[in-house]
């Protein structure tokens, strides 16, 4: 039964971890996520409709020991200067280019968030969890999910500004030199 959980969710958990700390460390943490999950499986009905909040909660908890790696990863995103992707219609190309232009500034701004707010934000954006799933993953009330997310998004907007450029007082590199 647990093998089914592994097969169904390993790729998604790995992908989330890789976005946060890079593929190499993600290999280790994804494996650790599933061994931790196995240890506590008796407390979780693996036939529940969705094990994702449970697994992403464990993965997020493991990430707490690796914020230096995450800071390095965000620093790499902040330096990113990527070409526009090819999309299948002009509008989507435009939107994608806008999003990618803002990416480095977003990365710097994410680095300035508290660990709690960053976790909520990235579980939404990168793990595609809904509010109530984030509440399950982090074991916090859904109202607290909302308020943390609201603060994180406000802070991002404040740091990025209408120009789409990072507007923090520190440099992009300094912004990412944080342990959260």
């Amino acid at each position: 039964m647990f093998a089914t959980v592994f097969d169904r969710h390993y790729d998604a958990v790995h992908r989330y971890l890789a976005r946060r700390v890079g593929p190499d460390l993600a290999d280790d943490l994804a494996a650790e996520t599933f061994t931790e999950a196995f240890d506590v499986r008796l407390r979780f009905d693996t036939e529940r409709p969705d094990a994702r909040p449970w697994l992403f909660g464990i993965a997020t908890n493991l990430l707490r020991h690796h914020y230096r790696n995450e800071a390095r990863r965000l620093r790499a995103y902040a330096r990113l200067d990527r070409p526009a992707a090819i999309a299948d219609d002009f509008g989507r190309i435009e939107a994608r280019v806008d999003a990618e232009r803002a990416g480095p500034a977003i990365a710097a701004a994410v680095a300035r968030l508290s660990a709690d707010e960053r976790d909520v934000l990235l579980l939404l954006a990168w793990a595609d969890l809904r509010y109530e799933q984030i509440a399950v993953a982090l074991r916090i009330p859904i109202g607290t999910v909302r308020s943390r997310l609201n603060r994180a998004r406000s802070r991002l907007r404040e740091l990025i500004g209408p120009s789409g450029q990072y507007t923090g007082v520190d440099t992009l590199t300094e912004a990412c030199d944080t342990d959260g």
């Binding site: 647990f2 592994f6 390993y10 790729d11 790995h14 992908r15 890789a18 976005r19 593929p23 993600a26 290999d27 994804a30 494996a31 931790e36 240890d39 506590v40 008796l42 407390r43 979780f44 529940r48 409709p49 969705d50 449970w54 909660g57 464990i58 493991l62 707490r64 990863r73 990113l80 939107a95 806008d98 999003a99 990416g103 977003i106 990365a107 994410v110 300035r112 508290s114 939404l124 954006a125 990168w126 809904r130 509010y131 109530e132 399950v136 982090l138 074991r139 009330p141 859904i142 109202g143 607290t144 308020s147 609201n150 603060r151 998004r153 406000s154 802070r155 991002l156 404040e158 740091l159």
Partner: protein, 347 residues
């Protein structure tokens, strides 16, 4: 494009896990599983009653007791003297209470409903949204151990269009599990010494003892949390105060200081005496703000003026938004706190 869209592009090209890594992880898990003996004993827990009638009653009451004020206050407004006075009175009540014993489990029982959505299609690009009713009972100890029981009801639709879209999309899951009952803790009941730790991190425990009870010092802490590393506004400060009142069972001194901080926030308005969804009379104060990605909304806190305890909270969307097919003002979330106490044991 908003900041979440931009964030989603970051690392979107991260490579899929190497098959070699996946095989290694699977092998690690297999070895781990073979080495592990079933040292944890699963304790079957009695299933709590669904109490559908209470959920249904609460749902039916959504439209009737939505606490909507008379107008929209501009951001950055001055403190409302009437709201400040009501909050100061609640602070005085709290300050006069004897210190409670903090030993044991913080226990909270609540009922509420929260916004939940699933991704939309070409006809509903902003998603399909509904309110999902939730009954929640939680016990949390200082070490993060405890128990969480949640019962979720059927989605409550804002209108027929959302429900029709949801059915056309194949009725994707909106509410999660209908019922869950999970125990957390570093020392599972019945576990042998050295048994594996349960869910890492366990329940989130807000260490209220680490917070200052002096108003000025507490305001500094709230500022720092509200700012998320930058400059805070009073709406964000108000939400931090709510975070610290919600499911925390703080000491009377701390609760008093939280109310005094709230009394000094610009834009807090007094709604007045209201009846919450459990039929209790309380004093309501509200703050209007624009959380990113949501729309102009009003967050209301209802507290008991005689005990200073938080009775309920509610969020009302005040403006028409492109992601929700509903006419404002409309309730997009609420919680009613039925029990907040300290217990020595978990049932």
């Amino acid at each position: 494009m908003d900041e979440i869209d931009a964030l989603r592009t970051l690392g979107s090209d991260v490579p899929a896990p190497e098959p070699r890594a996946k095989r290694a992880a699977r092998a690690t898990l297999l070895v781990h599983a073979q080495a592990a003996t079933p040292r944890l004993r699963w304790v079957a827990l009695p299933r709590l009653s669904l109490r559908r009638s209470r959920v249904a009653a609460a749902v039916a009451a959504v439209a009737l007791v939505a606490v909507v004020g008379s107008g929209v206050l501009p951001l950055g407004a001055q403190p409302d003297p009437a709201a400040a006075a009501a909050l100061d009175r609640a602070a005085d009540v709290a300050a006069a209470q004897p210190a409670s014993s903090g030993v044991g489990y913080r226990h909270t029982t609540s009922e509420g409903a929260h916004l939940s959505g699933v991704g939309g299609d070409a006809d509903h690009p902003a998603g399909i949204w509904a309110l999902v009713p939730v009954e929640r009972e939680v016990w949390i100890a200082a070490d993060g151990s405890g128990r969480l029981v949640e019962t979720r009801g059927e989605p409550i639709w804002f209108g027929p269009a959302d429900e029709a879209a949801w059915m056309a999309a194949g009725s994707p899951d909106l509410r999660g599990e209908a019922f869950s009952d999970t125990r957390f803790g570093p020392t599972p009941p019945g576990a042998e010494p050295g048994a594996p730790q349960p869910w890492p991190g366990s329940l989130h425990y807000e260490d209220l003892d680490a917070l200052p009870t002096d108003v000025d010092s507490l305001r500094v802490v709230i500022d720092a949390r509200a700012a998320a590393g930058g400059g805070a506004n009073d709406y964000q400060r108000f939400t931090v105060v709510a975070d610290l009142l919600r499911e925390t069972v703080g000491t009377p001194d701390l609760r008093a200081s939280l109310y005094r901080v709230a009394a000094g926030l610009g834009g807090v308005e007094l709604i007045g005496s209201v009846t919450d969804r459990a039929g209790r009379t309380g004093t309501a104060v509200a703050m209007t703000g624009i959380p990113s990605g949501v729309g102009l909304e009003r967050h209301t806190l209802i507290f008991d003026p005689d005990t200073s305890m938080l009775l309920a909270e509610e969020t009302v969307l005040l403006e028409t938004v492109d992601w929700l097919d509903a006419d404002p003002p409309i309730v997009i979330g609420y919680s009613t706190y039925l029990v907040s106490d300290i217990t020595v044991t978990i049932p």
